[in-house]
Symmetry: D2
Subunit: 287 residues, 4 copies
């Protein structure tokens, strides 16, 4: 795996801008995102589950299935990939295996979150909850102890702003940052004031995912608050799904493929995407 | 794996129509194709290599990597999937493992072709070639001996029309059909007369892939000639790539996601696609 | 996968004897056990973790890793394999994926247990505990709903005799059996009286694993009580480890291989084990 | 993966002794070999096929299956592992993927051989053959171009001494060494004179596998000739098979497990082998 992946992600964390990663899900989407100029990407848990299992984001994907998908993506591109590793697939020992497998697979960064996962028995009607702060601290320390390379980024992610409110979120962010994680990742952000309070508590690079209905947060302002990565949702897989639906509907209805050329990549573009020329050169050299 | 997959593919082979399969490549594309009405799909070698490795169609994907992708697709849908298994990944013993792995993974049908693969040393400048008819017969007999269920379809595929001409193709089609394969698959078809000659030789269901520049072949006419499956190319993965490029370009340039909603699936559609309601029902029942 | 696997396991459950399965862990161990006469085997969680990860039995193996090992074993033999699936790798939805993956991989039977797993935070010093009876019922119902074939055996396993005592164990066994599982599996059995009480509660075939220090339980007596499968521990992997240690020590010390022939299989035996003759026959037929 | 693996293998190649690697095949065998003192190991093609598929050494294992087994071994130990990668699973492009996958999986070294593999059609009765020297040169150059780290060892392996005689073997060894490979691996060695001639031609570290019936070759003499690695066969998997057969036979015949304790590892030894204490320490620290 090219070590460029680490450089790409680390340089964003240590920079002064606030960037958004490409939401990618397989080798082709990552290759396209990279070709457009992205240097960092994210593989969200929901998107990974959609892509590998066609299943919703309910923790039914295994760590190995996630690692396989990361490996596929890392093999095809040097994007610095942030992998959403949910709660680390169990307890602190499982977190250690999560780090072992995802680092090996080629992730540049992972986030471990404090959400209580998977859904507990009998609380179908209850909302989201978080594990104790102490348990999460143990998980983050385990994650840091498990990585092979210090370039590999471990981000502590918290849902507590949503479930517990700002005060508890601030307390947790401080405690998580004290473990030595490389970044703090907060979901459900609604106001700039929250960003400021959390960032002051973290004193390390921030990754944020805004709530659907919150203030408009200016990228430049976020950058000044220490936010280095701003998530914007996962439109690409949905755009691909829409394009697939349209073309399948067309073909199933009997439209001749020649009439659908406006819906597909230009001639030669798929070959460029799969680096056919590089393979041709290898054939010339070695075969 | 649902046995519907076999029914779907077998009913096309034993029917009287000439249908085109959906060209699918991952669980989501297969799920979408199925939702549009398709009952059969194809996983082409080129498309599988694009999707799993972002590599061109030069035989660098392993059998295991192909089987993993088939398994992902089969887990998500009951499409009767025809898997292009190239030359069976080696000699007749490798063909047997190919059948073992792809049948287990959930394919409804596979094709084994007589093209000499992978590219031989020193003939980078030479064109495509075929193995001997006898070797191919051994491979097809091996494939038939290796399957567990007789519902699993083995198609003998030949490139010989393109490399050797019609007479040799007719000879091979007769010989391949005599092994007892369930279908004959011919690539590079240019004229109706070729279809008629080959189909008369085969006396079994035909799968054809027309040459880029050939006569227009009417589906009804092909059906009368015994052609049951007509390949039409692999537009869907290219359409997805185009949509991905557009959305990544937009987002990378700073377009707010809210302005890109016309490019993505309608709200709730992704949830429908990943059968979120079925999972919610399971939670109600068991959790 | 040969359907013989199901026949082998089902015929033991529906028989009148009490048999012990071979404790197997990889294709070769399973092949040897089968050659000795065993028709049923068990892949214990501890042994699977030892074999695939060289890690202790602390729930760090993923479902996919377990399924891969089951697939390797099932590919090589028609042993009716009982797979210890721990707690089903999470909640009831994870249990459903466990069934999906292990049935597909070729297991003939799985057990899902009511032990609270993986180890919870902060209770390193506390002992084993069990989940609620209601939660376990949900898991067993989910397992039954998830299987494709009714031949596939689902066994409900309880640790409650050890953690809660006989009365609660009896209550649970009744409740678990009422879900329609094919067998009840109880660990930590110490007395015949326990067997009798639990078997009367279960009214279905029993699988038992006796405690290290308990009464001697006669196989004939157990059979009369409805116990069909008696676990006896996992000596084989330990015996292999001992043999490996001895031969590595000898070779590392410089003993010539020729002097170690008494420690290895007789000439030709490894070839027999990997069915070299069958492959030679395939070469003759197809190559 | 610890970089110790590279140090272990490289230090043998650059040393002055002639050592034999432990023939290992899974995580436990590798862990045991390491505990006995071995720093280098070998995963032979035959042994890998036995272990993962229970199949003979006839090229039916896929590259992915081999890489998975290497990964399992590398996860469990820092042995410098030499992986027998046969012919590189196809042409020079496949060799490149072989390097990509096995280096990623954690091998310290691989050998690529010039044997014509898999067995060709119609020559079941003919013996072993080799590919052309030019083709092999292309493969070795491709292997070197494909590695990520220069510490990763590529060994060019030749069967030509057996199939073509000493003169051709000398010619090939010179040509292969000229590509810049890190070691030359010759099989079928019968005399010291052959070693001397081949080593003089190679001018790089040698790995040799003697023929079954050849001169006795003294390790010290070989070391002076530049032989750094001497293969001695693959007794360990056979020793494990023998131990397994004995214990399965005993148990199947009804011998109580307690009477078989002399055949298994001493109490506590399996726990030591799977590093249970290290996991217990992690639980104390993080859980």
């Amino acid at each position: 795996m090219s070590e460029l992946q680490y450089q790409h992600f680390r340089s964003v964390l240590s920079g002064s801008e606030c960037l958004s990663p490409a939401s990618v899900y397989d080798p082709l989407s990552a290759r396209i995102a990279r070709s457009v100029g992205y240097t960092i990407g994210i593989l969200a848990g929901s998107v990974a589950s959609f892509s590998t299992l066609a299943a919703p984001d309910v923790c039914v994907m295994t760590l190995t299935e996630l690692a396989d998908q990361v490996r596929r993506i890392a093999r095809a591109t040097d994007l610095g990939l942030l992998v959403d590793a949910d709660h680390g697939f169990g307890n602190a020992l499982n977190v250690m295996r999560t780090v072992e497998e995802l680092e090996h697979a080629g992730a540049a960064a992972i986030s471990i979150e404090d959400t209580l996962l998977p859904q507990q028995f009998g609380n179908a009607t209850k909302g989201e909850a978080v594990i104790s702060c102490d348990e999460m601290i143990g998980k983050l320390r385990a994650a840091l102890a498990a990585r092979r390379r210090t370039e590999f980024v471990v981000a502590g992610r918290t849902s507590s702003l949503r479930t517990e409110g700002l005060d508890e979120a601030v307390r947790r962010v401080k405690a998580y940052a004290a473990t030595g994680v490389d970044a703090i990742f907060v979901t459900g952000i609604q106001t700039l004031q929250q960003v400021e309070a959390l960032s002051a508590a973290a004193r390390c690079p921030m990754i944020i995912s805004p709530a659907a209905k919150g203030e408009v947060l200016e990228r430049a302002t976020l950058a000044k608050c220490g936010v280095r990565v701003l998530l914007q949702g996962h439109q690409p897989i949905s755009a691909a799904a829409r394009a697939l639906r349209q073309i399948y509907e067309g073909l199933f209805a009997g439209t001749p493929p020649s009439q659908l050329s406006g819906h597909t990549e230009a001639e030669g573009e798929m070959e460029r995407l799969v680096q056919a020329a590089a393979f041709a050169e290898r054939r010339r050299q070695f075969l």
